[in-house]
Symmetry: C2
Subunit: 241 residues, 2 copies
């Protein structure tokens, strides 16, 4: 099953090191030749991989200079949601956007959802209520909101949600349970309230519950935020030049 191409191997390798913070914004990557040696692939494959990274705005190349990790401020706009940039404040910004977009998508969803769609949502709620380990809740949370956005029948909206959740999965997953643990009960109830509003075709109520739900998540995160922020500062101070 190792059907991964060489260029993809390079791509994944570098992406991983950027996301993990091994390569920091502004820093220069090893030369193509070096990377090729490290990964045991030819320079052609290295270039192909880096080309992709540069296309989505994770890095940029300077002829004769080298390849550099992009800083957040660069608005090569395809990097709207490059995973690297998601720390603390960034996460809050993202949730603000979700508050706006989710309330729209739940509204449209209530208008357009089919009976089959309602059944699918119901199943997710059901699984949320009968959950043993906490590990799976992220998946269910994701599925629920993506299903809602799907039945909004707005393709762009759905795609944006796909991106957002992909980013959340990559960056937040590890600390997710921690973040939402205090409201372990509410998180199921929040979703159930939204679901029932959709069932009753009450788009206004669904929207209100969605906003409430997200504001609760934001609040919960803000409590953790101070901790995380402190940790980050300490870490940075250690590595200060």
């Amino acid at each position: 099953m190792k059907r991964k191409s060489k260029s993809q191997k390079v791509y994944d390798y570098i992406e991983e090191l950027i996301i993990s913070g091994e390569y920091k914004p502004g820093e220069r990557l090893p030369s193509e030749a070096q990377l090729g040696e490290t990964l045991k692939v030819s320079r052609v494959s290295v270039r192909a991989g880096i080309e992709k990274l540069s296309a989505i705005g994770l890095v940029h190349k300077k002829k004769g200079g080298g390849t550099y990790v992009n800083k957040p401020k660069n608005d090569n706009y395809l990097s709207v949601f490059t995973p690297t940039l998601l720390h603390n404040t960034d996460y809050l910004e993202l949730m603000e956007i979700r508050r706006a977009l989710d309330s729209l998508s739940v509204q449209l969803c209530t208008q357009n959802i089919t009976e089959a769609g309602v059944r699918k949502l119901g199943k997710i709620i059901d699984r949320m209520e009968h959950l043993e380990e906490d590990d799976d809740f992220f998946e269910l949370d994701k599925k629920f909101h993506l299903l809602v956005s799907k039945y909004s029948k707005n393709r762009f909206l759905h795609n944006i949600h796909l991106i957002i959740w992909d980013v959340l999965q990559k960056t937040l997953r590890p600390k997710y349970t921690k973040v939402t643990e205090p409201s372990a009960y509410d998180r199921v109830g929040s979703h159930k309230r939204i679901y029932e509003a959709i069932v009753h075709k009450d788009e206004n109520l669904a929207r209100i519950y969605t906003v409430h739900h997200l504001e609760k998540v934001i609040d919960t995160f803000k409590c953790e935020y101070n901790e995380a922020y402190q940790e980050a500062r300490e870490k940075n101070q250690k590595k200060e030049t």
Copy 2:
């Protein structure tokens, strides 16, 4: 000033032909060798250019098969806003998203804007009011809303707006004046009302005016929409297989 790289040349060339509809979704591109011959560049450069197109999800490659233009349904999610897909209904969907995002950004903008920012917005309003030719209104419209989103101090939000306006510029610019012509007076007034609400730090009013503004644009477009839809249908019928 011909600082365009070979790979960029390839990228632009293919992108243009895809956007213009020369290469249609599902269609196979000429082989790398052929493209190289056409553009007088080596296969390496062709591959680099296509690599980028593939990274942002405009095309996909099949080893041994060829390179194909992606269909809209493919949710290789970086192609959220690939210009090609913007026709009629898509435009309405996009405006729905704007209604949600612009009301958020104008709200945040009102909270966070600086005095210098207010002055910049004022200048744009001023130029809107003293406009001779219609040609420039799109630029002013764009600048106004991007400035608002910039002062929302939410980087993701701003980036999404950058994408949206880039798409609008590429796809809608030609027929823009036509679409908004009926409301030639209102379009200045709409923006001015928003601006003044921002000046008076009334975020709620600013939000309401923004929603009104966008709903007006949507309505105006819906009138044109029927015409455009008819044209599209006729065109499709001609090319029916």
